[in-house]
Symmetry: C2
Subunit: 160 residues, 2 copies
DNA sequence: CAGATTGTTCATAAAATAATGAACGATCTG
DNA sequence: CAGATCGTTCATTATTTTATGAACAATCTG
């Protein structure tokens, strides 16, 4: 039980490790999701540690991150005290969770910052002020578009 | 000339440093773009180094990255041997460049990998095979959606 | 051409990020 | 309740990423 990763498993894990990289998530998070994604049965921390040869700490924290945006579902296994997990396979749920947890906070922070800049603008010399004001408007435009695109993108990912 | 960053400049730079983080780009790249973004005049490496108090190496490499996806435009300044730059302010150009340079390669790699997995699938036991096949199909579905969303998102960002 | 100036590269240093594993608290088991 | 089992946390270590700056090549200047 809990043999090393098969060739196929390695490939799948590799895919998710790459995705994790794109999303600035630790490698181990990608590994964990990958293994769960191709596992027909739910797995517990111990299974995952052994399979991936990573530490208990990494495993626990990785699962915590995955849970935080709903990429992983806790599963009750009768007669076993340990916590088991399966991969959430509905893309929309994962993306929505990820956006809410990891993206939205940053966007909001940007808004506040913009207000502050507006107030600082007053102290500039007239010529610079004009230019900077133009840039600020542009920046706000970008922000609006990003904010508009987000819900659209989420909707684009249709439910199954 | 080339005084330290004003309060306003700091705020703007800060915004772009955050964006750089989201895109997994070095902090210095965000700083460079930020300073250029609010500068009415084109700037050369020396201006940027002094303004941001970063090394020449970082500045040169940072500009290289920014040029690689068209976030920065070389500008000819009469009577000066040095290279000057302004920030590209048209979002669409930047995003398109970024996607082509930093995202597309990864997506393609994913396709190849998928093929390889298909071939490995043969060696699985029947019951596992069924499950894994289902997952692979799902994964391919995700890939298709991502590929479809990308050009759409680009188009969403309307010119001017 | 000799000396300056400018931008790039790359080995090294510094900083940031992730992984490890021992310590701990919580829960179960007999 | 005493011991065992689990999962989490966090100080430390390892790894990866980024920044530095000296060396260099290319170009200009008189």
């Amino acid at each position: 039980m809990a043999a090393a990763l098969s060739e196929l498993e390695k490939e799948v894990v590799n895919i998710f490790v790459r995705i994790a990289g794109l999303l600035s998530l630790p490698r181990s998070v990608g590994e964990l999701y990958g293994v769960l994604f191709i596992s027909p049965e739910p797995m517990c921390i111990d299974d995952l540690m052994r399979k991936l040869k990573i530490s208990k700490g990494s495993t626990s924290q990785g699962l915590k991150i995955l849970r935080s945006f709903g990429a992983v579902n806790p599963v009750y296994v009768a007669g076993d005290r340990r916590d088991f997990f399966t991969a959430e396979a509905e893309l929309r749920k994962i993306v929505a969770g990820f956006v809410n947890e990891q993206i939205r906070p940053h966007l909001n922070n940007g808004k506040e910052r913009m207000m502050r800049i507006e107030s600082l603008l007053i102290e500039e010399t007239p010529d610079r002020k004009e230019f900077i004001a133009e840039r600020m408007e542009r920046l706000q435009g970008w922000q609006k578009r990003a904010n508009a695109l987000l819900p659209f993108a989420l909707n684009f990912i249709k439910p199954e």
